[in-house]
């Protein structure tokens, strides 16, 4: 770790030297002693990690020095070490942003030592957070997370690139499991707002009565149960991006409030009076067609146009051709690495089975299918038998298999025979076909 730079601003020569000597006992500390406020201010370019400031200086008051320091660098912690045992002065200084205030007494050195320890821990945490943020940025480098090279997905890459160059609102549509939140994160973490928060809220998952407080926050006592002040998602996303998932589920009353916030770029917490300026980029997502919802009167037209911004429509996986195999291999490799398993290949027959399936649950479903296959196989590859589909949308997936009419007929009859213990007479009656047709198909091993 690099040196921890401490400024001691103290006109009492003895006390200043004592502090300097004491703090220099730790070789990691780099201690500078200044006798006046202006001397300290002149050296702020050295970026101190901590300033120990005497309240009574010959040229300026401690308060004025602290204000000047904070103006130059609001992050540097300033500890006031004073001979003055005056509570009101201490409170005033702490309100102005002092990190701590202590009176010169026998405990000063221990208290200062503890403050340094806390600040160093804090700096360590900040540096770790900064590193993690960069890691997240790398993780969400969109070409790393959104796999594929189909024309449909290449078009999406182009739109993401356009969206990260400006602050334009983005509306993402697509079937469930197509990766709407992933795209929203990719936009955020590749944009100039990457170092600020990405805050997601699923509008449909929050009870109607709580959505306003969830989004805009509330003051203590705003309603029964509001025992403390709550900062809403919009405020949490200050400087960053707010992602409103399932925006189509928002009720009309809340839509009016959201529109006002987006237009005025300010909000009031529930039960509060203060206007709070908001600077958050808005990305919305829905699996509904919002234009239709506007026509039906379920969605405000003015809000629709405000949110529409740059529309990104994510293609269903079944329209992405060979991306299915690219993604299948990616998910398998990732699962094996996460679970410290040897790499698995995917056989040609397994790939064909994947390519034929319509994936109503899209990429999310493919991931689940490949993870299950990786668990089921006892050998070094995944074959057809390890691939099983459990889509809840069985009727939809049945029709999307692109079978022939004869093929569908065989499947239906086979299904009914299994369901009714191979009772041909019953099945013929239920499907309203001749029993001889079923016997013929069984004889010819068509079913």
């Amino acid at each position: 770790m690099e040196s921890f730079r401490i400024f001691i601003v103290e006109d009492d020569a003895l006390y200043g030297e004592m502090l300097k000597h004491h703090l220099s006992l730790n070789p990691d500390n780099e201690v500078h002693l200044y006798k006046t406020g202006s001397d300290c201010l002149k050296h702020l370019y050295k970026n101190p990690n901590l300033i120990s400031l005497d309240y009574s200086l010959p040229d300026m008051s401690g308060l004025d020095v602290m204000r000047a320091i904070k103006k130059e660098n609001s992050d540097v912690p300033v500890v006031i070490v004073s001979g003055q045992e005056d509570i009101s002065t201490a409170v005033a200084l702490l309100r102005e942003g002092a990190y701590d205030y202590f009176v010169k007494d026998d405990d000063t050195k221990d208290r200062l030592w503890n403050v340094i320890k806390k600040i160093r821990e804090n700096l360590q945490l900040r540096s770790e957070i900064s590193y993690l943020k960069e890691e997240i940025g790398r993780k969400y480098e969109f070409r790393n997370v959104i796999k594929g090279n189909s024309p449909a997905i290449k078009q999406i890459f182009g739109l993401i690139e356009k969206s990260i160059k400006s602050n334009i609102s983005v509306s993402i549509t697509g079937e469930t499991g197509t990766g709407k939140e992933l795209v929203a994160k990719a936009i955020h973490y590749n944009s100039p707002r990457a170092k600020k928060p990405f805050v997601a809220i699923n509008v449909s998952a929050v009870p109607r009565d709580l959505i306003e407080s969830e989004m805009f926050g509330h003051e203590k006592g705003a309603f029964t149960g509001a025992v403390t002040r709550k900062i809403g998602k919009f405020e949490q996303a200050q400087g960053g991006t707010i992602f409103l998932d399932e925006i189509g589920e928002m009720d009309l009353n809340m839509q009016t409030k959201l529109l006002r916030v987006l237009q005025e770029r300010e909000l009031t917490r529930v039960g509060g009076n203060d206007l709070i300026k908001i600077d958050a980029r808005v990305i919305v997502a829905t699996n509904r067609i919002l234009a239709d919802e506007v026509q039906k009167g379920n969605f405000r037209e003015d809000l629709y146009y405000r949110l529409l911004g740059l529309p990104i429509e994510l293609p269903p996986l079944r329209y992405r051709g060979n991306d299915i195999i690219i993604l299948a291999k990616y998910f398998t490799d990732e699962f094996c690495a996460d679970n410290k398993m040897p790499k698995l290949s995917i056989t040609e027959s397994a790939q064909q089975k994947l390519m034929k399936y319509p994936f109503p649950g899209n990429v999310r479903e493919l991931r689940a299918v490949m993870e299950l296959a990786a668990v089921l196989t006892d050998i070094d590859h995944i074959d057809e038998s390890h691939i099983s589909f459990n889509s809840t949308d069985s009727a939809g997936s049945f029709l999307m298999e692109e079978n022939t009419l004869e093929g569908y007929t065989r499947k239906i009859i086979r299904y009914y025979l299994q369901k009714h213990n191979n009772n041909v007479l019953l099945v013929a009656k239920k499907l309203d076909i001749g029993k001889s047709t079923i016997y013929r198909m069984i004889k010819e091993k068509q079913i």
Partner: protein, 119 residues
């Protein structure tokens, strides 16, 4: 380390603060001997000139120095002097404290010079 029995000062707090580093102790003693007479002079001079603000400022600065050098019999008087100066009281009590301070520090300076002749 000189014996500090029957002395009007004590380096116990100073040593607690900076450790038993002989060179550092000498340095602090040297700073004490050079800066404290100035502060005392400011107090006396301020009183003579009825500049109680100057008296208060110097008393405020002298307070932690006397604490650190264990001049315990001035612990309360120096605080009282600061209060009196703040309220612009130039009466007998103020005068008496300044006299006591002057006499005590003369003794302290003498004792320290005896104990640390090399400083």
């Amino acid at each position: 380390m000189p014996k500090q029995k029957d002395r009007s000062y004590s380096l116990k707090k100073l040593i607690d603060f900076i450790g038993e580093d002989e060179a550092a102790i000498h340095n602090m003693v040297s700073i004490f001997l050079s800066s404290t007479p100035d502060l005392l002079a400011k107090i006396k001079d301020g009183f003579v000139k009825s500049d109680l603000v100057a008296v208060g400022k110097a008393a405020h600065m002298l307070k932690p120095t006397l604490d650190i050098f264990g001049v315990d019999n001035m612990y309360n008087p120096i605080r009282r002097l600061e209060v009196l100066a703040k309220s612009a009281d130039s009466g007998n009590e103020t005068k008496k404290i300044i006299q006591d301070l002057d006499e005590t520090l003369k003794v302290v300076f003498q004792q320290i010079k005896e104990d640390y002749p090399e400083v």
